[in-house]
Symmetry: C2
Subunit: 430 residues, 2 copies
């Protein structure tokens, strides 16, 4: 792939997510050659994907060109490529654009949607892990309402206006809240000739509380907020299947819906070549030591969602969120420089800055280290933190402008079907 | 399509472009039932599509939800549908979502790219008349440079970095200028490992001057600006074919390129049922009288690009631009109300507000009624006018923010390949 070998050791980073970018920045202007590979030419700010799906933000505002991250660094190379196989013995990668050798490899491929082997679900459910997927969901939501206008069939119309979100983590909670606000603020105006009061938002959680990685207090408040917004929250319900029409669960409960959003699990996005049993922990993640080195391969590191560093405090590995990825990226960056200087490595210590989720307008929950709070102030903190971590000054300003507009006008103007999602509606006909 | 017949006459508008929207607004709160049909659920601000293609603006910023245009009007209906046939005798439309009858029909379907029957061109050239097409072009431009990094073949790399734009109207001029600025300001930083000085932008015009609908002075200055930016301008060259690799012309000149953008002609987007010879004027437009009524069908109106109203001042009909469409929409709106009140109709009189085109940073040309000017001031006027006519307050603010950012930082941050355009690059291999 036309990358010259320099006299400096070559570090290859697979993935330009939170981990990959923070690592790349650490290595800037050091005596190393860095090659960043990603299947997209942009970084995706995943925490705001649900706002793209619900027309609150434009897709480009939460993406950032990866080449721009590397501007000004010498001896940095970006290639738009997907890695198909790792050959650790040969220190070589097979990619969609050819072979590449490395001296050090950092796997930062993140995670992908986990359907737990249910192929029927995988085929019919909508996922929301990438910008194209989020845009597909946006199109489908809007197309459903356009279609609902056209039918005389009661059951079809109910199915079109019925949204089932599976998974009570932050993604599910935030999407459900946003849909509820659309139902309340936008649908009656946009569809005066449709009885949009009949639109339903169902949030289905397998466990007995929402946001189960947060405090009990946050869970309870999030459920309260959602119920106030008119979301039906179903706890202790496990979805077993979806044929594109009917959602089945482990008990009698079922849903007739044209839209199932699956936010009930993620798994590490592993690459062929490192999938040997002993390397893989729960959730298809790569077992790493305290320096993020993959077991048995001191020259291969894994960071972020794909890495599972088990210790006393985090027996199942760190949470699959932005913060551990960012911090591990920085630590591995420092350790690589230490390694090349023959200095001892520093173990990774996670500094938990807390977590938060937003339900809607003036409604969020925050668990910080010292303090837990919910409501209007939490919502402002949530917005501030997300603006702060969003990459790129322009993105921050554009997102801020959209939020101010949406807040003042109770609106979401990006309700556009730019690329239709071709759902087969005929199956709902009698 | 579930639209109840009311006691008021039904006016059906086909197309939510500049003409359709200005008409719909005129009919708001009047004693009529209005049905707006469009194949998209949004209005497209076409004059800024080239900025979406070149990563300067986000696609959603220049689109506006059509349902939102109609909010607050009673007895207004929007349906997402394409009209497949007009049956004037039955006052009925066939559409992709069923039949619809009308009392009055306004055709505002605009124009589409005209390849003048050249199917080879149609197959391989990129058009830029819609948001998806503009995003495809954006993806292709960026993918070409990614691909150029990978090849060792000199001719392939030249073809990948060679852009040929056919058509010296505002679209061609504006796109060529924007690409030239990207070449100068962004490529060297984004692709330090590629000799981007070899990138070429060729603008091919069939006639002997650019912007031939504007003054000689504007044409000359636009050509000067483009040449200063490094664009190769080819006059009196007619493109005869493009097989995806080589552009042929009527003389010896040919171009080896992976990207041909066709901006050399538009034609009315007519609908089956009204295509009888006598109704159609040059450019596939519908002949209309001074009230925009289609010949022989007093209950059918046509406005904007699709309408050809020939008179002494405009023997070939009005220019196919936003202004005539907006003004005709307003006039037809007033005339429909007059018609229903049995008042005489008012003939359409076009008020030419002038025209303008931008070439790049601080470089634009304006022909206003009293005055012609070029350069920095023209550029500010161009920006102000485009912000003013852009629909939606949020869109204006977001576009303004992007322009300020791009101006200060010499940047275009939306250089994102969200949906790859699957170009077959293998044909360039030897």
């Amino acid at each position: 792939m036309n990358i010259p070998r320099s006299s400096h050791p070559r570090i290859v980073i697979i993935g330009g997510g939170f981990g990959g970018i923070s690592l790349a920045k650490k290595l800037g202007k050091r005596e190393v050659q860095v090659v960043l590979l990603d299947k997209n030419n942009y970084h995706t700010f995943q925490p705001l994907l649900y706002q793209v799906s619900t027309g609150g933000l434009e897709p480009d505002s939460i993406a950032y060109p990866l080449r721009k991250v590397l501007i000004g660094y010498d001896n940095f190379f970006f290639r738009l490529a997907e890695v198909t196989e790792i050959l650790p013995e040969k220190k070589t990668l097979h990619t969609t654009i050819g072979e590449l050798t490395y001296d050090y490899l950092v796997i930062a491929t993140g995670s992908k949607t986990n359907f737990f082997g249910n192929t029927e679900l995988q085929e019919h459910a909508m996922a929301m892990k990438s910008i194209p997927q989020s845009l597909n969901l946006r199109s489908l939501i809007l197309e459903n309402f356009e279609q609902a206008l056209l039918t005389d069939d009661y059951h079809e119309r109910e199915a079109l206006m019925n949204f089932v979100i599976v998974g009570g983590g932050p993604t599910g909670v935030e999407l459900a809240g946003a849909l509820a606000e659309i139902k309340k603020g936008i649908l009656p105006k946009d569809y005066p000739d449709l009885d949009t009061r009949r639109a339903q938002i169902n949030l289905v959680q397998g466990g007995d509380r929402l946001l189960d990685a947060m405090s009990e207090q946050a869970s309870k408040k999030a459920a309260d907020f959602l119920e106030k917004l008119g979301v039906q929250v179903w706890k202790n319900v496990r979805v077993t299947g979806y044929d594109g029409k009917t959602v089945t669960t482990q008990n009698d409960l079922s849903f007739n819906t044209a839209t199932l959003v699956w936010a009930a699990g993620v798994m590490g996005a592993t690459i062929k070549g490192l999938e040997a049993k002993k390397l893989i922990a729960a959730g298809n993640r790569l077992n790493v030591n305290e320096f993020n080195q993959v077991d048995g391969h001191p020259e291969i590191f894994a960071i972020g969602d794909i890495a599972c560093m088990q210790n006393r405090e985090y027996p199942m590995g760190h949470p699959m969120m932005a913060q551990p990825a960012i911090q591990q990226g920085r630590n591995v960056g420092e350790n690589l420089i230490r390694l090349l200087a023959n200095k001892p490595l520093k173990p990774f210590i996670y500094r938990d800055k807390g977590s938060m989720a937003t339900v809607g307008r003036n409604k969020a929950v925050c668990d910080l280290k010292q303090i837990r709070f919910q409501g209007v102030f939490a919502w402002f903190v949530w917005m501030f933190v997300h603006l702060f971590f969003l990459i790129g000054f322009r993105n921050r300003v554009v997102v801020f402008v959209n939020w101010v507009y949406n807040y003042i006008r109770f609106d979401r103007e990006a309700r556009l079907i730019i690329r239709p999602y071709k759902r087969d509606y005929d199956q709902f006909k009698n």
